[in-house]
Amino acid sequence: MSEIDPKNTAMSPEEQKAYQAKQKQRAAIMAGLLFFLVVLFYLITFVKINSSIS
């Protein structure tokens, strides 16, 4: 993660609120994507093992 430049951190309360809302939204989507990938890789592994057995 890149460093936050202290010169650019001065935000009004509204700007800060909007910034945090965007961060929260991105974090929630990232969590969903990671969960999806966990399930996908589990299924891929399952299929690969199954096909190598049969």
């Binding site: 993660m1 650019n8 700007e15 800060q16 965007k22 096909s51």
Partner: protein, 301 residues
């Protein structure tokens, strides 16, 4: 992940990151990839097939992100693209670059690990081709940009095919050729009535450099080559009569509309009905042709 800018105005929203992948273009990529996958002889486990399509989609999204990272200056000038995340100032370039590279690497690795390394290699090459050969090298330097760049969009059915069979035969090469020769008339029809926008951005589109009349003649010429490629799978016995009949009818309509463009002399973009009709039909043409190929396989399999 990078917080590319600490400004709240530049922290890219999820919606903007999604927009960076050009979802509408991606739909055509996904469709042709699925068709390549379904038309290939043999079978693929649904989970692996889904993963292959996902990897192709992510690769297409990555190419689009890298394209917009490089073309932010052109996009800012054109009305059609001025509201994209980068020219509109909702995202900085560093974020787009990191997003594009990250997605590229992930899509290729996903394809290689889950499907096979031949399709991963073609996917990697197609991303490189679109981002580097087309976007960085050709688009700004030659009016043939669309012709050669069209190859990038022609890879998805080949990758879909390779995902199933693990090799490349005549049929996927013909599918590649269909999209390759479809691209110039499709984009030049658009460029003819969007001419002023491309001129403003300094992109050497064929209508800007060679003029509208020369472009119109080339559109008509390409429609003949496209028709030959579209009918070839039927002619060589690689596809059945459902595909053959559809390909012949669609191609005749395409040739008719292209020659209508070829004889048009209109200089006023708002009066270019023939060009607009061809552009609209060209989208339908590709969907219908590939749909017919899959239907043909389903019926005769």
């Amino acid at each position: 992940m990078t917080i590319a800018s600490t400004s709240p105005h530049k922290l890219a929203s999820a919606r903007d990151l999604f927009a960076l992948t050009k979802p509408r273009v991606m739909s055509l990529v996904i469709f042709t990839a699925i068709c390549g996958l379904l038309a290939a002889p043999g079978s693929i486990h649904p989970v692996i097939g889904f993963t292959a399509i996902l990897a192709i989609s992510l690769g297409a999204g990555a190419s689009a992100a890298l394209n917009q990272w490089y073309e932010y200056d052109i996009d800012a000038v054109m009305k059609r693209t001025a509201n994209r995340p980068l020219p509109a100032g909702r995202m900085d370039r560093e974020t787009a670059l990191h997003f594009g590279i990250g997605l590229s690497v992930f899509s290729v690795l996903l394809m290689g690990v889950a499907v096979n390394w031949l399709s991963a290699a073609i996917l990697a090459f197609s991303i490189f081709f679109y981002a580097v050969i087309y976007t960085i090298w050709l688009k700004r330097s030659t009016p043939q940009n669309i012709v050669i760049g069209g190859a990038a969009g022609a890879f998805p059915p080949v990758i879909g095919w390779a995902a199933v069979t693990g090799d490349i035969t005549m049929m996927p090469i013909l599918l590649f050729a269909v999209i390759f020769f479809w691209t110039p008339p499709h984009f030049w029809a658009l460029a003819l009535f969007m001419n002023s926008d491309y001129s403003k951005a300094g992109v050497p589109m064929m209508p800007v450099v060679a003029g509208r009349q020369s472009t119109r003649k080339q559109v008509a010429g390409y429609s003949l080559v496209l028709a030959a490629c579209a009918i070839a799978p039927f002619a060589i016995g690689a596809a059945g009569t459902v595909y053959g009949a559809t390909a012949i009818m669609l191609s005749l309509a395409f040739i008719f509309l292209s020659f209508r463009v070829g004889v048009s002399k209109t200089e006023d973009p708002s009066a270019m009905k023939a060009e607009k009709d061809l552009f609209k039909f060209s989208i339908f043409y590709l969907f219908a042709l590939f749909g017919a190929l899959v239907a043909d396989r389903m019926i005769f399999a």
